[in-house]
């Protein structure tokens, strides 16, 4: 019993310690974000990496998720002759929930892991120390551009995923399942409100912050050579993904 309490206590202390360090990194990044210069080139490079380079994966995920949603909804709604609601169901699910969450998870796997691996490698090969010795703050130089890119690009990618999902749903619903095109679109426009899209975008900006902050944190504090970098990368994906799901619940509860 005592051992159990000890283990739980140790885990709790570690969690509080790590959470404190993440918050410290976040606050330090905020402070450095406000100090000129902005380092626009570094920010644009990260925006390209997080945003443009994730386009294909996000479009594919969105399209097929929209398609499968249409399939599933159709089979359910057909039981009580409500096939006309398939379009609005797909659109609502995509804009409120699946667009932001799936996009963030895909970008976490692609870019969040890369952030942890890149910063982790820089840490273990002393490149981060080298930045300090050259009177250049690594948080300003490495962390700030990644966080800005995460927060700005995730909503953009989410809009694209929403759109791709709606198109995917339309192709399946109208093209394969023969739902009337006019009714499909009209019902969707009638039921989906601007707030649904807008709140989804706010969520995705929060997820962008989470995945970039966790990726940077895990990389920035890496130790233990190549093995450490591997661990940091895995942990970045796991911690960011779980944090996205948990925060999704609370954000949704607060917004809708």
């Amino acid at each position: 019993m005592i051992k159990f309490i000890e283990t739980v206590g140790r885990g709790l202390i570690r969690f509080v310690e790590e959470f404190g360090l993440v918050m410290f990194l976040f606050l330090a990044a905020l402070v450095w974000m406000l100090r000129p210069p902005l380092r626009l080139r570094a920010v644009l490079k990260q925006m390209e990496f997080v945003g443009v380079d994730s386009l294909l994966v996000v479009i594919l995920t969105g399209t097929f998720t929209g398609g499968v949603l249409a399939f599933q909804a159709y089979h359910g709604f057909r039981l009580f002759s409500a096939e006309s609601l398939v379009g609005s169901t797909v659109a609502l699910s995509m804009t409120r929930e699946l667009g932001p969450v799936l996009t963030s998870l895909m970008v976490t796997g692609r870019a969040g892991s890369a952030m942890a691996a890149e910063l982790g490698t820089m840490r273990v090969t002393e490149q981060i120390d080298a930045l300090y010795t050259m009177a250049c703050n690594p948080i300003k130089y490495l962390v700030v551009p990644r966080i800005i890119a995460g927060v700005l690009m995730l909503p953009v990618l989410t809009i694209i995923a929403d759109f791709a999902g709606i198109i995917g749903g339309y192709l399946v619903g109208v093209g394969l399942l023969d739902i009337n095109s006019g009714i499909y679109v009209a019902k969707m426009i009638e039921i989906v409100e601007l707030d649904d899209i807008f709140n989804g975008l706010i969520k995705s900006a929060c997820f962008g912050l989470i995945l970039s902050l966790v990726g940077c944190y895990k990389g920035f504090y890496t130790s233990g050579g190549a093995e450490g970098v591997g661990k940091a990368t895995t942990q970045a994906v796991v911690v960011a993904s779980v944090s996205i799901f948990i925060s999704d619940y609370f954000l949704t509860a607060a917004m809708f």
Binding site: E118, T121, M122, T125, E126, Q127, D129, A130, Y132, T133, M134, A135, C136, N137
Partner: protein
């Protein structure tokens, strides 16, 4: 001048520096020797403020850098250059961009002027036509040369070397030794190196200090140090497995 006064540092309860005192002469090459894991790197990182001591002072031209805020510490760091053990080149940048990095960060020079300085610094370390290459395309010795060119980019008053010859073949190691001596002559900078390479140490040093059990146990000119009768030092420079160093627990960092 650089002076460390009664510096203490522990990691996870393990003492690495234990009341260390050291004075480094301006315009000379000082080599700090000691066993691997004996606190040499930690000592070097204290000099440039990468690690703050638990207690004690690190004086750079009379200013205790352990008490400075980031901005003032960065002002001091601009007078320093550091060559890391594996060069620590930014692998996302070309060799030229690496050497240009401190110039882009801290000067308002035009692109053409920076390119010229980069060319000169690379020539000084014996490299030509490599500016466009990526660090991964270079050998270990060449990477160290580029690292030194980058460390010298802002014409620092102090250059720190973290085990400059470790991991190099004897011929390349000798070339790096000569490069350090030539660089010092050319720039008149104060050079501090840490090493466990005895041959290299006595080839380049104007002053030698040995760290043992977190303290400097001997320091002075190479001849004076060689003549010293401190058993741990003699065991170290004669490369003997048996002696006082084996009888005591050596700090593992």
């Amino acid at each position: 001048m650089i002076k460390l006064v009664d510096v203490h540092k522990s990691f996870n309860g393990q003492k690495v520096l234990d009341g260390l005192d050291l004075e480094i002469e301006t315009g000379k090459i000082t080599v700090i020797i000691g066993r691997s894991g004996g606190g040499k790197s930690v000592l070097l990182k204290h000099i440039i403020g990468l690690i703050r001591p638990d207690r004690g002072e690190v004086l750079v031209e009379g200013v205790d850098i352990t008490r400075l805020n980031d901005r003032r510490l960065n002002d001091i760091r601009k007078n320093f250059g550091m060559l890391f053990q594996d060069a620590a080149l930014f692998d996302s940048m070309t060799v030229g961009e690496n050497v240009a990095f401190p110039l882009n960060e801290h000067t308002r020079l035009k692109r053409r002027q920076i390119d010229e300085i980069v060319r000169q610094k690379l020539l000084q370390v014996g490299l030509r036509d490599v500016a466009h290459k990526m660090p991964s395309e270079l050998s270990g010795g060449m990477r160290k040369r580029v690292g030194l060119a980058r460390a010298m980019a802002l014409d620092p008053k102090v250059i720190l070397f973290d085990e400059p010859t470790t991991g190099l073949d004897p011929i390349t190691a000798d070339a790096i030794d000569r490069l350090i001596v030539d660089t010092q002559k050319h720039t008149k900078a104060t050079c501090v190196a840490i090493s466990h390479d005895i041959e290299s140490t006595f080839k380049i040093a104007d002053a030698v200090a040995m760290i043992y059990h977190g303290k400097i146990i001997v320091s002075g000119t190479p001849d004076a140090v060689k003549a010293s009768e401190v058993p741990a030092l003699q065991q170290f420079i004669q490369r003997k497995a048996e002696g006082p160093i084996m009888n005591h627990h050596v700090l593992d960092m």
